[in-house]
């Protein structure tokens, strides 16, 4: 990843994390504030419910006190005082009085607890009312009232009337149902529900037992865990319910207990979290907007900063590439005085020093080459000069000995002199040839044929030297653009070099290979091989490892290959042999008429 991209990613991440943290903090604060307000509203509604509960209880108490003083109650009391009390005529009285007084529950019972008349369950006449034997509560209370089909949650009050040491109990009340809940003044977004816990503590949650003032609760089963918690613990609890519609609602549950502190009902105050959800959505939208703007700003800033920071670095990188490509003159502009500026100055200083070092190296190599040339020249010239000197001295001595001896010596010495002079000419011609290496005249050359001809030319020498030739040359190899004479000369030098490397015979391997737009020629011998130091100096002009070599053969080969734009390399293992590899480009562009000529 580029520095610019990393810088952009860093900026973007910083902006994103910052916005996310701020969003979370704001959301959390909003949630806490909403929950506080919600708790306060729920508490107020629970208090309102209890106030209404108390008010209705007082109403019930007042009504049953009035009922206890009605003529019907008096007649019942009179009937109760008789020895064989007959209550049959009072069967419907409780229903009539309850309708008049708008009570849901009304029962009359004698002092034995026998129900005389019941409004809610007329058929209960003659049965015992448990309340009359368990101590009468002085204030209205909650009770699970038995009904023919299902029990009901009742707010009851009890009063008694006495006459002639007999007592009549009047038990009446109202049902805690939808109408009761409807009397509560609910703020917007809130609702009250009542769960009738009338099936015993062991019974499962029943959605049918959930009463609301309005529409019935859909998927009431989602309240089961909250209600079961209150049923089990008998204490208040709250939970956030996510309905299937997607709405969320905070539900506070408060137990409603009876005389024996058993949980008979559970008041559920639901507070819609829609407002909070909308606020949360707004916060998220704002956060997204801020994130988007921040990211855009980050892109702009990072681009600007990256451009400011990375342009000198990119210039440096480009200059380094140019240096690597051989352009040692490359420098970079110093545009700042910071670390980047120091780096640019250091780069320029480095390239300058490299140039100096190269110049010095070239000069050193040049001096070394001249010294080697002088050494070789002195060595080459010293060999023929010494016989010349001896011959001339012999002539001088023969002159002093006599004419006959002089003539005999003269003839011998003249031949020697001519021979050594010829040697000097040859040495000078070789040096002259090396200095006069011609430039290649490129033409389309069938590489395989050139190689075969070179091998064939030295066939006799190879046979004499007992050298076996292994030739892996494909005549159908593609043609390359080269100078056939120079190429032939280079190959001959390599073959001669190989023959000289194998004085006791061996194997010469010649191989050509076509590689896309290049050709490769390998010439390998099985001679004694070369040391690494010898390999490194092998192509140096006038260097030779042979007693009578001029040190120009391989230098000429390298010169030819170089003039063809190719490369020669050597690999050798002492005792195994030496292998030369020539790699030549196709050089199609160097043909005299490149266009229309197929190579």
């Amino acid at each position: 990843m580029s520095f610019r991209r990393r810088l952009l990613a860093l900026f973007s991440l910083t902006v994103f994390v910052s916005v996310a943290v701020v969003t979370w903090i704001v959301s959390d604060m909003a949630r806490r504030a909403f929950n506080r307000a919600n708790d306060q509203r729920a508490a107020a509604l629970v208090a309102q419910f209890h106030r209404e509960f108390t008010r209705r209880g007082q109403e019930v108490a007042t009504k049953i006190q009035a009922i206890a003083a009605t003529p019907q109650a008096t007649r019942m009391l009179v009937a109760a005082t008789k020895t064989a009390a007959d209550y049959s005529s009072f069967l419907d009285d409780a229903q009539g009085i309850a309708e008049t007084q708008r009570l849901d529950f009304l029962e009359f019972a004698d002092d034995h607890g026998v129900i005389i008349s019941s409004a809610q369950w007329p058929a209960k006449f003659g049965y015992k009312e448990p309340l009359t034997t368990s101590g009468l509560p002085s204030t209205p209370f909650l009770k699970e009232e038995e009904m023919p089909n299902e029990p009901a949650l009742a707010l009851l009050g009890v009063k008694s009337a006495k006459a002639a040491d007999r007592e009549l109990f009047v038990i009446g009340g109202i049902r805690l149902d939808k109408n009761f809940l409807s009397s509560l003044e609910l703020p917007s977004g809130m609702r009250a529900m009542l769960y009738e816990n009338l099936d015993g503590s062991g019974a499962k949650f029943s959605p049918d037992r959930l009463i609301t003032a309005g529409e019935p609760v859909q998927n009431a089963q989602q309240l089961a865990s909250l209600i079961n918690s209150v049923r089990a613990n008998g204490s208040e609890s709250a939970s956030v319910v996510r309905w299937n519609s997607g709405d969320e609602e905070t539900v506070n549950a408060s137990p409603l207990t009876g005389e024996n502190h058993q949980v008979l009902g559970i008041l559920l105050i639901g507070s819609s979290r829609r407002e909070y959800a909308e606020l949360r959505a707004q916060i998220r939208s704002a956060a997204l907007l801020a994130s988007g703007a921040g990211l855009l700003l980050a892109v702009i800033l990072s681009s600007w900063l990256a451009a400011k920071v990375t342009r000198p670095v990119e210039d440096l990188a480009r200059a380094a590439h140019e240096v690597a490509a051989g352009d040692w003159q490359t420098t970079v502009a110093v545009t700042s005085k910071d670390e980047i500026g120091d780096l640019a100055e250091s780069f320029n200083r480095m390239t300058g020093e490299l140039l100096d070092h190269r110049e010095r190296l070239v000069q050193t190599e040049r001096v070394a080459a001249w010294r080697e040339l002088a050494r070789r020249l002195a060595h080459e010239l010293k060999n023929p000069l010494f016989p010349l000197q001896l011959t001339v001295e012999n002539l001088l001595r023969a002159r002093e000995q006599g004419q006959a001896e002089f003539d005999e010596t003269f003839h011998e010495s003249a031949g020697t002199l001519l021979s050594e002079i010829q040697n000097l000419k040859t040495i000078i011609a070789r040096f002259s040839d090396f200095s006069k290496m011609p430039q290649p005249h490129f033409q389309s050359v069938p590489l395989g044929e050139v190689v075969e001809e070179a091998v064939k030319l030295h066939q006799a020498q190879l046979a004499e030297a007992k050298i076996t030739v292994e030739q892996s040359v494909n005549p159908s190899d593609a043609q390359i653009a080269a100078d056939p004479d120079l190429l032939h000369r280079a190959l001959c030098n390599l073959i001669v070099n190989a023959i000289e490397a194998m004085p006791e015979g061996g194997t010469l391997k010649v191989k050509t290979q076509q590689q896309n737009d290049a050709a490769r020629i390998e010439v390998c011998d099985t001679g004694k091989g070369l040391s690494p130091e010898e390999c490194s100096r092998l192509f140096t002009p006038y260097y030779t490892s042979k007693p009578h070599g001029t040190g120009l053969g391989l230098a000429i080969v390298q010169s030819i290959v170089s003039d063809h734009g190719g490369r020669i390399s050597v690999s050798s293992q002492p005792g195994v042999g030496t292998a030369f590899a020539i790699e030549l480009p196709a050089n199609r562009d160097k043909l005299p008429s490149a266009h229309g000529t197929h190579v």
Partner: protein, 447 residues
Amino acid sequence: MKLYCSILFAVSSVLWSGQAGAGARPHYGGTLRIGLRENPRAQDAAALPAHLSSQIFETLVRLDDRGRPEPLLATSWEAEASYQRWRFLLRNGVSFHDGVPLDAATVAASLRGCNPEWKVFAVGESVMIQTEIADSGLLSELALSRNSIRRRASGQQKTSGTGPFTVAQWVPGKHLTLKANDSYWGGRPFLDSIEVEFGKSESEQKMLLDLAKADAVEIGPEDIRRAKSEGRTVMTSEPEEFLALIFAADARSEDDTHARNALAASIDSVAINNVVFQGGGDPSGALLPNWLSGYGFIFSPGTGTIQQPRSPKQPWTWTLAYDTADPVERVVAERILLNARDAGINLQLVDSANSTLRLARIPLPSLDPEVTLDELAGMLQLPRPMHDTKSVTELYSAETILLQSHRIIPLLHLRSAVALRPEIHNWHMHPDGSWTLADVWLSPEQP
């Protein structure tokens, strides 16, 4: 002074005797207005309740208040020794309301329509009835209202009878107007017409009576005591309407049988009668009322005549259906629910037909106990008990067999009653709750 007092006494006596004489003498004319709770919706007046259809249609024979057959459209009859072939001699001078004289062919056709299994044919002025098996109770069966003689004119929907009253207007479920049959063979009825309003609630009927908008209203057994205490003229029948719990199917196991026995034993019929029905009936463990069978007391609840109840091994939950439109039935059903719970049986009150058992009120089909037992067996889809002779022992055995089917739990026999205005005279309520309105007459209106 003494003379003055004597003259005053003599004048008062004459006046009083004159008034009394005027009240005791039947008076022709007037319209009798009746209010009823029931709500019949049959299109054909022949399908009206028996106490109304008997005013329009007549049978060959009828049963007196002691259940003995007496002539009606047939003046005499004779049966062969095997009781499979009967011959009835028709009354002369009888004609249908449309004026067509009653003849043997019409009677035979009417009876064949009601009893496809009988072979009925006319022989001169008499009708022959042949049954597949010996039927000594054929006369009682012929007295049933379903065997009343009707004639349907070709192409007409209405049926015509021979009774003392003829249908003038019939709006199903609402209103029925009957007019006196001037050519009635037994003599023209005293009343000119009868107007019956159906579907009136108890409070509406009471109001109609108090406002003199009705002359007679039907009252339930639970209101008899109150009506009497209010000083109304109340005519009551014998305890005839049968209140019972009927199971939809036979007991499936021995434990089911125990549970049914436990339920029967748990129901406090006495309390239901005394409180819910205000003493308007008789608690009973029998199918037939005691006054009809003579042995009904044997089956009284708690006598142990029925197999001693044992608690069921498992808790049973049954559904009990009742007529939810009837508030009295509702109280009875709820009371049974309470009693059953004491016996460990859970009842759920429903109003659907697919219930385990139902609370039924069955009017007494006949004053003949054998016919009544047969009708009950037919209603329960049980084999009719065999009783070829009219001995009480056989009747008892037959009833016991029906009870031991554990398909029915008798609760009460209830009285039928009507409350009358004082202007109504000679209203005769038969033991089975039927009326003979041909003899009723109204006091003449005071000028």
